[in-house]
């Protein structure tokens, strides 16, 4: 188990969470400057941790392994923390409700969507508040809060694609990536929890 340099982890983790991403998406989701992302990507390509598919990047097997090893190396000491585990259990409760409301929002007639979105936004807002507490364990989680707040603002200004579209930094994308991140911190990555 070896840890990656911090910025390298942020970049590769952004790609691991998104599965397939442009350089711009990785920069934004990792919170890195263009120069830092460029340098990390060059190094990752030299070490065959990423590969290019058209406009997108994907992780190689070695890249996936490097990301998961980093989680094991950096976060193993947190995995027995009862307060973090309790925080996670509360998140799972919110998660079930979030997914249910998101699915409803996608399939409802327009007149019902507004009410469902209001409930969805309340869950996201509560989660943003909870993230402030989780940042004491994992400071980079404050970046998820900033992304959620930005997407809530986009929806408020009429961009409904920021609710669930996979093509923008939507509430669903951010929520999913956070969930995946948290599971990996706890040593339970989905790739080993396929059911």
């Amino acid at each position: 188990m070896t840890a990656l340099p911090d910025e390298q982890f942020l970049l590769l983790n952004a790609l691991w969470l998104r599965k397939m991403a442009t350089r711009g998406t990785m920069e934004e989701n990792a919170g890195l400057s263009a120069a830092a992302a460029e340098s990390c990507l060059r190094s990752a390509a030299d070490h065959q941790l990423v590969r290019v598919m058209g406009d997108y990047y994907v992780l190689t097997d070695s890249g996936r392994r490097a990301v998961l090893d980093h989680y094991d190396s950096e976060f193993a000491s947190l995995r027995g923390d009862p307060e973090l585990l309790a925080w996670y259990e509360r998140f799972e409760g919110y998660n079930a409700r979030f997914l249910e409301l998101m699915s409803a929002w996608q399939t409802e007639a327009d007149e019902a969507k507004e009410r469902t979105y209001a409930r969805l936004a309340r869950i996201v807002e509560r989660h943003v508040e909870a993230l402030a507490g989780a940042a004491r364990w994992i400071p980079r989680y404050s970046h998820y809060a900033a992304r959620f707040e930005r997407s809530l603002e986009h929806v408020d200004s009429g961009r409904s694609d920021y609710v669930s579209s996979p093509m923008v930094d939507s509430l669903h994308n951010i929520w999913f990536e956070f969930h995946e991140d948290l599971l990996a911190v706890l040593g339970r990555p989905r790739e080993s929890l396929e059911d």
Binding site: K19, M20, V58, S103, P166, D195
Partner: protein, 139 residues
Amino acid sequence: MTVIAEGMNVFETSKQPSGTVHYLADPQSVIALIDSGKLRDHILLVRGGTTTFLAPALTMGAIGVITMSGAPESHLGILSREFQTPCVMTAHLTGGSGSRYVPGETDDSHFEEIVEALNGKNVKLDCSDHDVGKVVLLD
């Protein structure tokens, strides 16, 4: 019309994608299929409803998905609605041993039986019903 498997329909659609079922076991097999340029020739079969490694295939234009576990409210269900990719979840065989997926209580033989029965078959997805999605054998 022979229905060889059915499961929960993620969203109602008149689309009826057809192709050869291709079982995807891991992230590498997803990337290999995209690389082959034949992604659109296949209906994709995966084990879990949380199979997040399928996201690149949906992004690149997958035509249809069958899962062997998971619910329409899952991440994959939400993504398949966004991409309007017909998706049948927690599919079970209409023949065979009659095995059904039960979370936490289903062993590998259940999944192996479905892969054995569907992989390589030429099928069409019928997702026109609100609740039930069907896998129809074409030849």
